[in-house]
């Protein structure tokens, strides 16, 4: 037996769901199956994408981060205020915003891992703190930035997709690589599987868990920057309920809520599924009530589908 080749069969179920959705919406609407629609669609997802990447890591170590939406809003608010009110260069403002996200992640991770407080509780607290912070720095007003930040969210000439999307996809690829090819990735899976065993193997799980939350915080900050580029304004109310969308995307991607199993790439597919749903239903002009019901059903259906994915993947691997 030689090295095992990892075929992407375990993404197959998700790709199947995506294709079904795209086919369905293409049949239902004249305008859905078009470059413009897809370009619009993918330019909307960078923030959710990077936040879902962070959430994947957190769920992998059997934690949860409810604060990502608020931290995103706060980071964006800090960037916005620094540009508008303090006239700082955009790059410096962005670095400051990312630093804010990182700090909140480190704080959540440290408090929950070091003092062994469930991350649910800690990040619930941070959710409120960061939201309050966002109101504080913006004086509860939307900060309009305009052109200085627009380059992040605007389509790159000749490609049609935004710089934010390109960066988000790069983050997905890098994060997947980190997960499957490095010691850090292996430790995350091990900690999510059996933290006590990891500790007794002479590895300090606290350190690694803090790192995971730090990454989630940093990516929430990056999501804030992407959001800024997209909206060209810092909205203190941005990202309310975003943590649930991120968790939904990650869970659709087959990451286990109890830790130890997950894939960044599949979380990205989860994000795409959610985005296709939203775009398709909006283009059809489906009523708000039906939208909610359908979205809920698709989340459950995709997760059910995931239950059958593993046996299917095995079967296909045998054939291959």
């Amino acid at each position: 037996m030689s090295k095992k080749i990892n075929l992407p069969w375990n993404s197959l179920g998700l790709i199947g769901v995506l294709i079904v959705l795209v086919l369905f919406f293409s049949l239902m609407s004249d305008y859905f199956f078009s470059t413009v629609t897809f370009r619009t669609l993918v330019n909307q997802i960078p923030a959710l994408t990077v936040i879902a990447v962070g959430m994947t890591y957190v769920l992998l170590v059997a934690g949860i981060d409810l604060s990502v939406g608020s931290v995103m809003a706060l980071s964006a608010a800090v960037v916005g205020v620094l540009i508008v009110d303090f006239n700082l260069p955009v790059v410096i403002a962005i670095v400051a915003g990312l630093f804010v996200g990182l700090s909140f992640g480190v704080a959540s991770g440290f408090v929950s891992a070091h003092w062994k407080i469930p991350s649910f509780v800690v990040t619930l607290g941070v959710l409120e703190i960061a939201r309050g912070g966002a109101y504080l720095v913006t004086s509860s007003e939307t900060k309009y930035i305009g052109d200085p930040i627009a380059f992040i969210g605007s389509p790159v000439p000749g490609i049609g997709v935004s710089a934010a999307l390109i960066m988000a996809v790069a983050v997905v690829i890098f994060a997947q690589w980190l997960l499957s090819k490095t010691v850090f990735g292996r430790y995350m899976i091990a900690i999510g599987t059996n933290e006590e065993a990891v500790r007794l193997a002479g590895i300090n799980p606290v350190k690694w868990k803090v790192a995971v939350f730090a990454i989630a915080g940093l990516l929430a900050g990056l999501g804030g920057v992407f959001q800024l580029g997209y909206l060209q304004s810092a909205d203190p109310n941005a990202g309310i309920g975003l943590e649930l969308s991120a968790i939904a995307a990650v869970v659709i991607g087959g990451t286990s809520l109890s830790g130890g199993r997950g894939s960044v790439v599949n979380s990205f597919f989860g994000v795409l599924i959610i985005a296709v749903m939203q775009t398709g239903l909006a283009q059809l002009g489906v009523s708000e009530s039906s939208k909610r019901i359908i979205t809920g059903l698709v989340i459950i259906a995709a997760v059910l589908f995931d239950q059958y994915r593993e046996p299917l993947a095995k079967k296909l691997n045998r054939i291959a």
Partner: protein, 325 residues
């Protein structure tokens, strides 16, 4: 297993199909219309704020009824956002409508500044954009070099009307409190300013101004706090009816229904009942169910005539116990 999977997939498709069949026949109508006729009707997208809020639901329903009566003139796609403050989703919706190449976008912006860039892009794409409900920021519009006509009520004047009616029941020097909407929103600022205008004019003392983000529960909490803080309080002015309902609940719980008057804005049905039974003093009717229709009609008018767009005021009327009789 294969069968199970097939069933899952089939069930999933059927569910989707059924659910969308429950909705209005717009999509099907779209297809027929766009493929058959040369002189095709205009395609109008209505982008609302939260469609969980009765005010916007009424507006959307009004628009849909109007469209049915004028099916030869235009088609309509209605979308709303999850909660009042989800700017990103509203931007997404406008982009998606741009992708479907509509002729008109009538938008009730969730924020008076942040939605402007995307609206500008829509205009650049040749789409007629009409602003309803919440007015875009004038300064920023000027800076960006766009002009988007606002069709809607003068919130400040409307709020002032309510305030003046309230002032008649009070005496100079009385204490009142104002519960505002989301601080950044233009109509929130306008209504608050209108309330303040009326109170200043009548020499009434505004002891507290707080934002409850248009939400009933938040307003109830804030009103309760204001009430216990100000035992002499005589009235609460809420910038919308949802918040007024919250304030009424807080007043009732504080046992001060006889002493504290509550006014709202929007004339939603629950508030109407309250005004009838005296729990609320007054609210304002801005013909919300017709606001979108006003916007659509104006847009169609512009499309036809090509005239340069200007703002257009729609009526705001006071609703009191007498007016309801």
């Amino acid at each position: 297993m294969g069968l199970k999977q097939l069933l899952t997939r089939a069930g999933f498709l059927i569910t989707l199909g059924l659910l969308s069949a429950c909705d209005s026949g717009t999509p099907a109508a779209n297809q027929e219309a766009t493929t058959s006729s040369e002189d095709k009707p205009a395609r109008v997208a209505l982008v609302m704020k939260s469609l969980a809020n009765e005010f916007f639901i009424n507006m959307a329903n009004g628009a849909e009824t109007h469209q049915k009566d004028n099916a030869d003139k235009y088609e309509l796609i209605v979308n709303g956002i999850r909660n009042e403050s989800d700017l990103a989703q509203q931007v997404s919706l406008i982009e998606q409508m741009m992708a479907t190449q509509v002729d008109v976008i009538v938008v009730a912006p969730a924020d008076s500044k942040s939605i402007l860039p995307v609206a500008k892009r829509a205009i650049d794409q040749g789409i007629t954009v009409i602003n309803i409900d919440n007015k875009f920021d004038q300064e920023l519009m000027a800076k960006m070099g766009v002009s988007i006509p606002f069709v809607g009520p003068d919130n400040r004047a409307g709020a002032r009307k309510i305030g003046e009616y309230l002032a008649q029941q009070l005496t100079a020097g009385d204490q009142v409190a104002i519960i505002g909407g989301i601080p950044g929103a233009f109509n929130a600022q306008q209504r608050q300013a209108g309330f303040e205008d009326a109170m200043t004019a009548a020499d009434i003392n505004v002891v507290s101004i707080q934002a409850a983000d248009w939400e009933q529960a938040k307003a109830a909490t804030i009103a309760a706090a204001i009430l216990s803080e100000n035992p002499e309080l005589k009235a609460i002015l809420a910038a919308n009816d949802s918040m007024a309902l919250g304030a009424v609940a807080a007043v009732r719980q504080a046992g001060r229904s006889d002493d504290v008057l509550v006014v709202g804005f929007d004339n939603i049905s629950a508030a109407q009942d309250m005004v009838k039974n005296g729990s609320m003093l007054a609210t304002a009717e801005q013909y919300g169910d017709q606001l979108a229709v006003f916007g659509i009609e104006y847009a169609l008018q512009i499309l036809e005539s090509g005239q340069s767009p200007e703002d257009k005021n729609t009526p705001v009327d006071l609703v009191t116990q007498e007016s309801l009789q």
